[in-house]
Amino acid sequence: MLGAIGVDSVDELFADIPESVRLDREIDLPPGLSEQEVHDHLAALAARNRHADAEVSFLGAGMYDHYVPALIDNLLSRSEFLTPYTPYQPEISQGGLQVMFEFQTAISELTGMPVSNASVYEGPSAVAAAGYLAKLQTRRTKLVASRGLHPHSRAALRTHAVGYGMSVEEVPLTGKGATDIEALAAAIDDDTAAVFVQQPNFLGTVEELGELAKAGGGTGALVVCAADPLALGILKPPGEQGVDICVGEGQTLGNRLDFGGPSFGFFAASERFLRKMPGRIAGETRDVEGKRGFVLTLQTREQHIRRDKATHNICTAQALNALAGVVYLSWLGKRGLVELAELMLRRTHHARESLGLDAINPGPVVREFAVRVPDLDGLFERARAERVNPGYRLGRDYPEYEDGLLVAITERRTREDIERLARLVGERAGVAA
C-alpha cells in the first residue's frame, strides 16, 4: 500500500503535522485489553450500581422504571437499525425513513399536534429548543416558565436563553402544587415570546392545561407544553387545548433508564410552525416509477443547508431510541396504552391513600405525587436497609418542600410493593406501624 501511495513509511503521511505539536510520548492510557478482559472490567463496574432490579424503587422525577418488552431489545440489536448513518441516500434507507414517518405519526396522535419531527435529544433540551423557535417566530425577548416544569428543563432553558439573548422568569405553584394561573397571566406582556407549562407537572399534578394556555397566550406568546407521553394515553391532548408546541421526554416509551440517557425528546407543533421546526422530518412521496417512499424533507430548515440561519444546530439526534418509541407504542396499541395509563392511575391513587401522608399536591395525579414526610432521613435509612428506594427528595430543587418526597408508581410497582413502602413510612422511630 505504501508503494501505491509513494511513501516509505506511514510516518511520512503525517509530515504536515509540525514537530512542535507532535505528541512525543505515548498517550497515558493502559495498553489495550482482550474482549474478555474488557467485559470483566465493565461487569465489575456495573456490579457496583444498585439498579432497578436490585431494589424496589419509587424513584421517578423525569425517568421511570417501566417494563420494556423483549421484542424491542431484539429489533434494536439488528444491524440494519443499529449501524447505518442518517438517511442521506433515501433509496437505501427506506426502513429508517419509514420508521421516522411512523414515529412522527404516533407522536402527533398522542399530543394532538398536527406535525412532529423525528426526534431531538431528550426532554429538557426539547424545552430549550421550543424557546428557540419562539425567538425565531416572535423576535421577542422574554420566556416565562412555570415552576411546575422539571428543574432540569428550567435549567436547560436558562442556559440556552443566555445564547438566545432572552430572560427567563419563573411563575410559582399554588399551595396545592399546581401552576398559579393568576401569577402566570400577570407575568406575560408584549415582549413574552413563550410560556412553558408541564403536564403532569414535576410534582405529578394534572394541570388545567386549557385554562393555562388561555392565560399564557393572551399577548401573542407561544404556549409550550412539556408533556408525559404515557399520561397522554388518558389525558386530553395539548393540541386540543390551545397549545402551540408540545415537547417531552421519551424515555418512558420503550427506552432504558441507562443512568439518564440516551433516550429521546419529541417536538410537535401546530401546522404554522412546520417550517420553523428543529431537526429531521421525514415526508412521504413517490419515486420515478410511482412507488410510495419516504425522504428527509424541508431540509432547508436544517444546519447543513441553512447554516447560520438554521432553525436549530441539531444534526445527530436519537433515531434508534425513537424507533424503540414507535415500536413500544405499537406494542401497547390503541387500547393497551389506555389500559396501562389507567393501571398507573389507579395504583398511584391507591399508593397515595395507603401512605397516609400530608399531600403537597392533593389534586388529581397520574403516575407521581408529592407528600410531606416527617423524618425523611429516617425513612431513607430504614428503606435502604431493605433495598427499597422511597422516591425523590424534593428539597434539593424546591426549598419550599424541604420535607417533601416525590413518589412514582409505574405498572411495575405492585400492591405488595406499595404496602411495603407504607409500612416503612409508618415505622417511624418509636412509632408503632
Binding site: Q299, T300, I305, K309
Partner: protein, 127 residues
C-alpha cells in the same frame, strides 16, 4: 424553461435578479441563470405589501430542495403587489422566470437608480 433566455427589455442586477420598469413602478424576479442554479423551486415566501425594499438588499428567500438563496432588490421602493400564485406554484419561477415567475411589484422611490443596472448585453457578459 429549458433554454437560457434573457429578454432585451429588462434591466439586470449582478445578483441575478431582473427588473421590468414601467414608469415609476417596477416588477422584480430572478433570472434564468439563478433558477437554473437553484434547481426546482419548492418554496417562496414573499414579504408583505407595504414593505420597503432597498437596492442591493435581500428582501426574500427562494428555496429549492437542497438550497436557499437570497433574492435581491435591484431598486428601492415600496412593495405594492406580490405574486400570490407562487405559494401554490413556486415552480413557475423555473418554468417562466420573467412571466408567471414574477415575484413583487414595487413603486420606485428613486428612478435614477435604474442607471446603475445592467442591460442584457452587460449581464450576459457577467455570466
Amino acid at each position: 424553461m429549458a433554454e437560457a433566455s434573457y429578454p432585451e427589455d429588462l434591466k439586470y442586477h449582478a445578483e441575478h435578479d431582473w427588473a421590468r420598469i414601467d414608469g415609476d413602478q417596477a416588477t422584480f424576479g430572478i433570472t434564468w441563470y439563478a433558477q437554473d442554479a437553484l434547481g426546482e423551486v419548492v418554496f417562496f415566501d414573499p414579504p408583505e405589501v407595504g414593505t420597503q425594499v432597498s437596492k442591493d438588499q435581500a428582501y426574500a428567500e427562494v428555496e429549492s430542495v437542497k438550497a436557499v438563496s437570497d433574492v435581491f432588490a435591484p431598486l428601492s421602493g415600496e412593495i405594492v403587489e406580490v405574486n400570490e400564485a407562487l405559494a401554490d406554484s413556486p415552480e413557475n419561477i423555473n418554468a417562466d422566470p420573467y412571466g408567471d415567475g414574477w415575484m413583487v411589484k414595487v413603486r420606485l422611490s428613486d428612478t435614477s437608480e435604474v442607471d446603475a443596472l445592467m442591460d442584457v448585453a452587460a449581464y450576459r457578459e457577467l455570466l
